[in-house]
């Protein structure tokens, strides 16, 4: 997987230039095609939903062109989610129709990127403002709490080469 922190719009070109691997071997595809994007602190102030949506549209178009260039006419799927824990926008491309995405949690699929990107912007802007505000407890409690079922929002787009 590719990890990057974006500090200005020009750096998005690094992602466009990324090579695609569509071998059918999922672990290989994730290793090569997946991107984890963090947004730099100063960049967050300038970011807007429109600009990010625009980037994603361009990215998808770019990937379709890449598929065309290698004459890849099978099914491939682009999917994108906001990783709240890592505070990253993540996306990946794998072969197949996307009927089963490689996640270990429940998914809520979206046909547009708007919801995901809004969540990202809200979260990063909020996190950038928070300082050190931690509550320490003396008591030791090693019991794991019951974990609530986690539902992840994922934007899915099938890539078709005409």
């Amino acid at each position: 997987m590719n990890v990057i922190t974006i500090s200005n719009f020009d750096q998005f070109s690094l992602i466009f230039d990324g090579l695609l691997c569509l071998s059918g071997e999922q672990s290989e595809e994730i290793c090569q095609n997946m991107w984890c994007i963090s947004l730099g602190e100063k960049f967050i102030e300038n970011i807007t939903l429109e600009k990010l949506e625009n980037f994603i549209d361009q990215l998808i178009e770019n990937r379709v062109q890449q598929l065309k260039s290698i004459n890849f006419f099978e099914h491939a799927v682009f999917y994108m989610w906001f990783d709240q824990q890592a505070l990253q926008l993540r996306f990946n491309i794998i072969t197949g129709d996307g009927a089963s995405l490689p996640f270990g949690c429940k998914l809520k699929l979206h046909s547009t990127s708007k919801f995901i990107l809004t969540n990202l912007i809200v979260a990063v802007k909020r996190s950038a403002c928070f300082g050190d505000d931690v509550e320490f407890l003396d008591s030791e409690d090693d019991e794991d709490e019951d974990e609530e079922e986690y539902i992840l929002d994922v934007f899915v787009k099938k890539l078709t080469v005409l």
Partner: protein, 612 residues
């Protein structure tokens, strides 16, 4: 000190004045040179390798204390290559080497091998001296600043790893793994006796019942597809779990009966029953009962016809009951094995202790004899009594030794005549060691006999002196015997109590376990291990628990999305919050990133509740 008090006390109650006899008395012969039991035993002793529990080992997911490593974990060797841990074993040792390298104290087995930088060879820990340089993974010499031999009991952990070499401490010192284990599975060494899982050693690991059913089904499908026969599943496929369970429980019951038979046989040896108050075997075995035996659930007695009519839910329950029953049988077998192993180990250990006690006191006894000989021309009652007391003490210590050696000899004879002890032979070194120890016992016994003869002569000389002086010493002898008898009984009770505690600690810290890891449990296993190794924990309302690795100081949380084999998120602490560092797989290994620039993503502290 107690001994001196007794001597003085007895001196006081008999004599208040110093009386000179004015008669030349007979010379007493000095004791023979003493060859200790430990020395004789050492000839056939196993190597003492390994490290104390908190020694950190370089693994694929950072530094980990050796005590938390298990079979299948990955350690890093001196070339940075990943090597699988084949076995993790434990051994009680009575001595170990403590040395300091840089700012790290290393407690290591007496025979543990280290690679030395200048001599370019493997050197056992006991041969390492101050100023020696040990090699680490980047060919740097690491100087040894101090070396100390510690004569104390300690539990050491040792690993057997693929290609034999791994790295310890933050200096990544190259060490050689323990000798390849005979059985190739994890063992527990109590000092003299080593044991492995008796079930695995005898009939192999228990297979999950669901796997049995699946395999039977797959085999049948494979067979029927080859023959183009599409018929309904035959009974032996439907009842595959039943057949496996019946066979497995029968096999386990046979092993259990063998172990119980051996234990009962030992406990009921007539020679021990008659002197139950003084021998360790009877006291120990009578006070260490294995696990409570539960009665079988009636549902387990279901007929084949009845089983075929069960609903899916009922079948699931039956599977669970059967698996619990197999587990219970296995645990009972292991519990009895541990008791038997402890018993023999303790018998040998007690001889070593009694032998040391005798060896340590021998100088004082000899000086009392010398004092007698030096004062033959002007013997006083005080000197005579002092010498007589020393003779009585020597007599007691030798009798004590003799009794213990005799007990071990009887136990050795019992095991060698045990016709049905195949599982014990396969899963412990009890029988082999007792066979090996036999000539040692014979040699040692001869030495005791000679020494006892000398002591008897010395006591006779003293008694003759007192007889001529018209002083009765019979009651001194009786009182001394009563005192030592009580001391022996107290000591036995103390040993039984100590051994029971040790036995419980072994069971808690893990008897030789069945190591057929279930992949599905890997994630939870790693998480549990992480919890154990953590020094801090925190809770995030959104993301659940976080634990801080005590060694790397990185924070771990479960990956909620679990995309593409990622099971954990790893963070570092920053002023703002937890900054994401990498994703980690099920076994905790890092999922490699191709960093295209600086990274910096975090969970703000506001969202986290800390627990220290």
């Amino acid at each position: 000190m107690k001994r001196l008090i007794v001597l003085n006390y007895l001196l006081l109650i008999i004599f208040n004045t110093c009386i000179s006899s004015g008669k030349i008395v007979e010379t007493k012969f000095l004791s023979l040179p003493w060859t200790s039991f430990s020395y004789l035993l050492d000839k056939s002793h196993s190597l003492q390798e390994g490290f104390c529990s908190d020694t950190i080992i370089k693994t694929s997911f950072g530094y980990r204390p050796i005590s938390v490593l298990v079979e299948g974990d990955i350690v890093i060797d001196y070339e940075g290559s990943k090597k699988k841990v084949i076995a993790v074993s434990k051994q009680y040792v009575n001595r170990y080497i403590k040395f300091v390298v840089g700012n790290t104290v290393i407690c290591t087995g007496y025979d543990q091998l280290y690679y030395t930088f200048h001599s370019d060879m493997w050197l056992a820990a006991h041969n390492i001296v101050v100023g020696d340089t040990l090699l680490n993974d980047i060919n740097e010499p690491c100087s040894v600043l101090s070396v100390e031999l510690i004569n104390e009991d300690r539990l050491l952990y040792y690993l057997t790893v693929q290609d034999h070499i791994f790295c310890i401490t933050s200096y990544n010192l190259c060490v050689h793994n323990a000798e390849a284990l005979i059985f190739g599975v994890s063992s527990t060494c109590l000092g003299h006796i080593t044991m492995i899982n008796p079930v695995v050693a005898t009939i192999g690991a228990t297979v999950a019942l669901s796997a049995v059913a699946y395999k039977a089904y797959q085999s049948y499908m494979h067979y029927s597809s080859n023959n183009d026969e599409k018929i309904s599943l035959p009974t032996d496929v439907i009842l595959a779990e039943r057949f496996y369970y019946i066979q497995r429980s029968t096999d386990l019951e046979t092993i259990r009966q063998e172990f119980i038979g051996v234990k009962n046989g030992l406990e009921n040896l007539k020679v021990f029953c008659g002197t139950s108050s003084t021998n360790f075997t009877h006291q120990f075995l009578a006070h260490t009962a294995p696990l409570n035996i539960c009665h079988k659930n009636q549902f387990l007695q279901i007929s084949a016809v009845g089983e075929m009519q069960l609903s899916d839910n009922q079948k699931e329950n039956l599977r669970l009951l059967r698996e619990n029953e197999l587990k219970r049988l296995e645990q009972e077998i292991i519990a009895i094995q541990v008791i038997l192993a402890f018993h023999v180990n303790e018998l040998i250990e007690q001889i070593c202790i009694a032998d040391n006690e005798y060896k340590n006191i021998k100088k004082e006894i000899e000086s009392a004899t010398t004092l007698w000989n030096d004062n033959r021309n002007r013997m006083t009652d005080v000197i005579a009594l002092q010498s007589y007391k020393a003779d009585l003490l020597e007599d007691y210590l030798l009798n004590n030794l003799d009794r213990k050696v005799d007990e071990l000899k009887i136990v050795a004879r019992y095991y060698s005549s045990c016709m049905n002890a195949m599982s014990i032979k396969k899963s412990t070194n009890i029988i082999d060691l007792l066979e090996k120890i036999n000539p040692v016992i014979i040699e040692y016994e001869q030495q005791i006999v000679k020494e006892k003869k000398l002591t008897t002569q010395k006591m006779f000389v003293s008694e003759q002196y007192f007889m001529h002086r018209g002083i009765s010493v019979g009651h001194i002898k009786n009182e001394t015997e009563i005192y030592f008898q009580k001391r022996r009984n107290d000591r036995n009770a103390q040993i039984v109590a100590e051994t029971k505690n040790r036995l419980e600690s072994i069971v808690v810290s893990g008897s030789p376990q069945n190591n057929n890891n279930n992949d599905d449990d890997d994630c939870e296993d790693f998480w549990q291990k992480l919890k154990t190794c953590s020094d801090k924990s925190a809770r995030s309302a959104k993301f659940g628990r976080l634990y801080r690795d005590a060694v790397t100081k990185l924070w771990w949380s479960k990956d909620l999305a679990q995309h593409g084999g990622s099971f954990y998120k790893v963070f570092k602490e920053t002023a703002k919050g937890f900054e994401w560092v990498y994703d980690a797989a099920k076994d905790g290994s890092k999922i490699l990133n191709k960093n295209k620039g600086p990274i910096g993503s975090f969970i703000p502290y506001k969202e986290v509740v800390f627990r220290v």
